[in-house]
């Protein structure tokens, strides 16, 4: 895992990507009890380019040159299947920009803040996202004010109220 993170940091240093942060189930694992997953989801920002079209080609090319093969939607980096997800909207972009700096052993990395993680899950709204939201609320320490600000900024307050009403009868 540490070697995988070192490769991600190299991607950033070489300016193949501008910035990355761990999201998905591994970010959730940072805040809650371990849950089964096989993927390391990496949200990233790209350097500004001539085209508005986002392409993963520079990432795939750079990693292939380094000997990391693509396997379907993943790239296997040091034994870990990594899925690269471009920041696809304003919420995810903000989440990557404000991600928490952490260390895994001796290697620096970033993980989405729990409040952004909750907001993204609420926005994505798959059944597994709803389950994960309830788990995080039970196990993690959440800054209610920060969460409320994020939900407000991204038009998710109403959805959040509906979620709370459905699951907690509030």
């Amino acid at each position: 895992m540490e070697r995988t993170l070192k490769v991600l940091n190299q991607l950033e240093r070489r300016r193949v990507i501008t910035r990355y942060a761990i999201g998905g189930a591994i970010a959730m694992l940072f805040y809650s009890e371990p849950v089964l997953t096989y993927d390391l989801d990496v949200f990233f920002l790209l350097p500004p380019g001539p085209s508005a079209l986002v392409t993963l080609k520079p990432i795939y090319d750079w990693l292939r040159e380094k000997g990391y093969p693509a396997e379907k939607e993943h790239i296997l980096i040091e034994g870990v299947p990594v899925q690269f997800i471009p920041a696809y909207n304003e919420l995810v972009t903000e989440a990557v920009e404000k991600a928490a700096e952490i260390k895994f052993k001796r290697t620096k990395t970033r993980v989405l803040r729990v409040e952004h993680l909750l907001a993204i899950m609420l926005q994505t709204d798959r059944p597994k996202d709803r389950t994960r939201i309830t788990q995080i609320l039970e196990e993690a320490s959440v800054d209610e004010k920060a969460l409320s600000d994020i939900l407000e900024r991204h038009g998710l307050q109403e959805k959040w109220q509906a979620f709370r009403k459905l699951y907690y009868g509030e």
């Binding site: 070697r3 694992l29 034994g79 895994f104």
Partner: protein, 62 residues
């Protein structure tokens, strides 16, 4: 039933203990959780192999 109150109390205690255990696991270090995740992947992979005949590969990390 006469035992209903007792069963309720017992189940409340059990759920409380389970909650506490989950919170304890949540408080572990990230490194420790990744190690536990890999154990989970091995266990799930074994079950997948038996039930579905297809195994997902646990992370091969050093």
């Amino acid at each position: 039933m006469a035992n209903d109150g007792l069963n309720l109390k017992m189940s409340e205690r059990l759920f409380h203990q389970k909650r506490q255990r989950r919170r304890g696991l949540a408080a572990l270090s990230f490194e420790r959780k990744i190690a536990l995740l890999i154990q989970l992947q091995h266990m799930a992979s074994e079950i997948d192999g038996v039930v579905r005949g297809v195994r997902r590969t646990p992370w091969k990390i050093t």
